[in-house]
């Protein structure tokens, strides 16, 4: 049943809904719909100032849903693998081919040869494609899959180590209480970071807060807000933070009483900072050599942060997407504790802005996938900080291609022969796209469930066409901030012959003879998912009204402050760590006995940092920030978004001049892993020695292997840090001008 609630409108009807992108925002939409066509988008109509205003991405929702390149019918490959040439087939043929291959591979190699690649391509409760397929393959006998989140793994590890929780965020309104806000690697103007985050930051500034941005780039948030920009080399943030700690300790600016009451292990960190461990004092002069931030600036920053109260140090996840990423988030959290800002209004806990504890996406109810028989004899990984345990039965997401190529002899859990991929575009979005090309050509069979001919879909043998969120009903949650709950009300009937992932999995289950796979209708599922989530049942009395309004807002008497209870009443509210305190020294981390996971946060040198000898050959550090005109690689084809910003590589005029590059020139950016071609954006907004390519542009290698789509990950490493962070922002490259078009 189509549950949409509509009102009369001269142009048709209005559907109150939201999208399901893996976006930093989650915004109420009013879609104008006529027949089976979305005509226009309007946003939230709540009274100001509480409107949850959508960004440009959902403003272009119509062009996404109705894009002419969408897969509307099942397809089979007709060209070479990776060429992207397909021919329409029937659902019967698609299902028959898939099941024939699935059964053959299971019979020949066992279930562990089946790789299920899922992802965050659409994030909702019922239609979170990966879960329906997981449920199916679990009931089919198992499969091998991946572990880890491309974006946030560093922040997750750091927050779990330090706090025992990832709910380390304040609701954004709390920034109105801050006197100083430090944007450390955070650019919400582009990555949104919760609907209205930029608006709240602007209001905080207009309310008198001082804003300092620390970043290799003078990004749009900094350009709009910052009183001061402190350019820093990628991967060196932790050195600057350690030096700030040095200033605070030597000048006695830290809050010793706070540290005594709420933390363990500060002395060990102080020993490291003062050089009592390794003989190296982490002075501002020491950090200046590493980071490019001069010693005076570090000293002033440390004093200002330590003495302005309350102050919010807002670290994020971009700098943590690096080879020692979790150290950045842990060190940030440690500074938050040293200044007594944890658990205080207007302060912050650090830890990468993971989320606020009400209405968070992580607490969304979902279709239960069941247990994977392949993982039954694996280690118990729940809550472990030991990444080595997590990759016994799974593959770290950023080594997926290597696992296909190397199999068990490379230390991976199995020999992979086929892949079923959905809700992701991993060829594009994990490290080393050229290795993906090589790996996927090795497989015996690939099925991809998709809406668009993405870089990953191009490698499919069979395409299952999937509905967009506009074509189904669901519940969604805001990503890091809120607090509110949203509903996806179906706006149009499925286009062409598209089906939801749940429907595809259900129909496959029937053909595979798996009984009782999907006992419920969509409406029954939604009611079950609602009823089984205590957050819904606590906050929402009227299910029908929730569906009709498309949103439920939670009125908060005051902004949410992470760990407020732990700080107010520590006796009765221990932190969820083994010690019950903030663990600046983590016994669990120490027990890992892994130099890449020190027990206290430390600055560590890594491969492909700016001091790696490889920098002689590839002297520029590459950053791969969020784009503003798409959600990672989603929405890439949408024309209204494409024209907003040309895909170009940011390069400082100093580096450009040294290479004879002018603004707009065609260039190639390259290293040992690949070459991408795109125009240059010559700017003063990036620190010399660093270039930036926004992630998500679709990988498109030509006959010479030059990536004409200029996917940032053609250049990045397929590796992970000690805490499991993907290392996209630790890559060295060189850049050259080329003749003709890039």
């Amino acid at each position: 049943m189509n549950h949409q609630k509509t009102v009369n409108h001269p142009d048709g009807r209005i559907v109150r809904t939201t999208s399901a992108y893996d976006c930093g925002g989650r915004c109420p939409l009013r879609l104008h719909v006529k027949g089976n066509q979305i005509l226009r988008v309007e946003g939230d109509d709540a009274p100001e100032p509480n409107q949850l205003r959508t960004c440009l991405r959902c403003r272009a929702y119509k062009q996404y849903v109705h894009h002419p390149d969408r897969f509307l019918y099942p397809q089979k490959r007709v060209g070479k693998r990776g060429e992207g040439k397909f021919e329409r087939i029937s659902w019967d043929e698609a299902y028959d081919t898939f099941i024939r291959q699935l059964d053959r591979i299971k019979a020949t190699y066992g279930n562990s040869a089946i790789l299920l690649a899922t992802g965050g391509g659409y994030l909702a409760s019922l239609h979170q494609g990966g879960l329906a397929a997981s449920r199916l393959l679990n009931q089919y006998g198992g499969y091998v899959t991946h572990y880890g989140n491309i974006s946030s793994e560093g922040a997750v590890w750091a927050s779990l180590t330090q706090y025992g929780s990832v709910m380390v965020g304040h609701s954004r309104e709390d920034m109105m209480n801050s006197k100083l806000i430090i944007l450390w690697g955070w650019d919400p103007a582009r990555m949104i970071s919760g609907t209205n985050t930029m608006y709240h930051l602007i209001r905080a500034k207009e309310n008198g807060a001082k804003i300092i941005a620390i970043d290799p780039r003078y990004h749009d948030t900094a350009a709009t807000l910052a009183h001061q920009w402190i350019p820093v080399y990628p991967g060196t943030d932790t050195a600057v933070m350690a030096a700030m700690a040095h200033v605070m300790i030597t000048e006695n600016l830290h809050d010793q009483q706070f540290l005594n009451t709420y933390t363990v292990g500060f002395d060990a960190f102080a020993d490291y900072v003062l050089g009592r461990q390794d003989g190296v004092e982490k002075t501002p002069a020491w950090a200046a050599q590493i980071s490019g931030v001069d010693a005076d600036t570090i000293q002033t920053l440390a004093r200002e942060y330590a003495t302005t109260k309350p102050a919010a140090l807002m670290d994020c996840q971009g700098p943590a997407r690096s080879a020692m990423g979790e150290q950045y988030n842990r060190c940030a959290s440690t500074l938050c504790a040293m200044t007594g800002n944890v658990g205080r209004p207007g302060g912050s806990a650090g830890g990468g802005l993971m989320g606020i504890p009400v209405g968070h996406m992580f607490r969304q109810s979902a279709i239960p996938p069941g247990k994977n028989p392949f993982e039954a004899d694996g280690p118990n990984v729940k809550g472990t900080l030991d990444i080595r345990m997590r990759v016994k039965k799974r593959i770290h997401i950023n080594t997926l291609w290597d696992a296909i190529l190397e199999g068990t002899k490379g230390g991976y859990p199995s020999e992979i022969k086929m892949m079923w991929s959905m809700c992701n575009n991993y060829v594009n979005q994990i490290g080393n796209s050229n290795k993906a090309d090589k790996a996927l050509k090795e497989l015996e069979f690939i099925a991809v469930s998709e809406l668009f001919p993405t870089a990953t879909a191009r490698y499919a043998d069979i395409i299952f066409p999937v509905t967009s969120a506009a074509e189904r009903n669901d519940f969604t949650r805001p990503w890091p901030s809120g607090p509110y709950f949203t509903v996806i009300n179906q706006a149009i009937e499925p286009l062409g012959e598209c089906k939801s992932d749940l429907q595809i999995a259900s129909e496959l289950a029937e053909r595979l003879g798996i009984e009782g796979f999907n006992p419920h209708s969509e409406e029954e599922w939604l009611k079950i998912l609602f009823d089984n989530n205590p957050e819904y049942t606590t906050h929402i009395d009227d299910y029908e009204a929730f569906r009709q309004k498309g949103i439920h807002r939670i009125d908060l008497p005051e902004p949410i402050v992470a760990f407020r209870d732990q700080i107010k009443d520590p006796q009765n509210n221990p932190f969820p760590t083994p010690s019950g305190k903030i663990e600046i020294f983590s016994r669990r981390a120490a027990d890992l006995d892994n130099p890449a996971c020190p027990a206290i946060p430390k600055y560590l040198p890594t491969a492909e940092d700016r001091f790696d000898p490889l920098a002689e050959k590839y002297p520029l550090q590459l950053l791969t920030p969020h784009p503003r005109n798409r959600v990672h690689s989603e929405l890439y084809l949408v024309p209204w978004l494409r024209e907003v910003e040309e895909h170009r590589v940011w390069i400082n005029s100093k580096d450009a001049n040294a290479r004879g590059i002018s603004d707009g020139d065609p260039v190639q950016v390259f290293n040992g892993r690949g070459t991408v071609a795109l125009p240059a954006f010559v700017t003063e907004r990036i620190i010399p020695g660093v270039v930036a390519i926004f992630e998500g542009s679709w990988y498109d290698p030509d006959e010479n292997g030059v990536d004409r789509g200029a996917c940032a990950n053609t250049l990045t490493r397929d590796a992970y840090s000690g805490g499991g962070a993907c290392v996209m922002n630790t890559s060295l490259v060189e850049i050259k001008k080329v003749q003709g078009s890039a």
């Binding site: 946003g43 959508t54 440009l56 403003r59 003078y218 709009t224 024309p639 010399p688």
Partner: protein, 186 residues
């Protein structure tokens, strides 16, 4: 009565939600025809950089020079609210006329699609929305509330009479119906 816009440049992040919302509401395909545009300025040398964005629509001037320049009388100023409207049926087309309106306009407001002898289109202040007492779609779309619209007297009461912004020059001759809050270097 004169309707007009307010633009707070100090808030604008250059996200272009206004531009996309405008194209969505008026169904304008991707391409050079942009009734709302976001202009970029960058000044200074690393690390002392100044960046500003300017949202730029049609400012529905008190003295619309585009109307004077049009040989076909296709552009007119509406009496009751001062909105400047174009009748594409009357427009001779870009190639036949040489885009005299665009050449005359200090703000590049007249817009032409890619088709041969394209007729002029431009911001119409979302007149259909205005008829329903709604602000233009760009205003509602701005995530940081950098845009507002309404009768000029009301806007002046709310925001003052700012006439300067980076990359904007107030034309004495045409008297644009816009109030600005400039962005200055910190």
């Amino acid at each position: 009565m004169q309707m007009g816009f307010y633009f707070d440049q100090s808030r604008c992040t250059g996200c272009c939600a206004c531009q996309v919302a405008c194209k969505d509401w008026h169904d304008v395909p991707a391409g050079d025809e942009k009734w709302m545009r976001v202009l970029y300025s960058e000044k200074g040398r690393f690390p002392n950089v100044f960046v500003a964005y300017l949202a730029s629509a049609c400012w529905h001037c008190a003295a619309p020079i585009c109307a004077d320049a049009c040989p076909a009388d296709a552009i007119s100023k509406r009496e009751n609210d001062g909105i400047v409207l174009v009748d594409p049926e009357k427009c001779l087309g870009k190639d036949d006329c040489g885009a005299k309106c665009l050449k005359a306009c200090p703000y590049d407001a007249p817009q032409f699609g890619p088709e041969e002898n394209a007729r002029m289109h431009k911001c119409n202040f979302c007149e259909d929305r205005l008829a329903e007492n709604k602000v233009p779609n760009c205003v509602e779309a701005c995530p940081v509330r950098a845009l507002d619209a309404g009768p000029m007297e009301e806007l002046e009461t709310k925001y003052g009479t700012g006439r300067t912004a980076e990359a904007f020059t107030w034309s004495k001759r045409t008297r644009p119906s816009v109030i600005l809050k400039a962005k200055s270097a910190e």
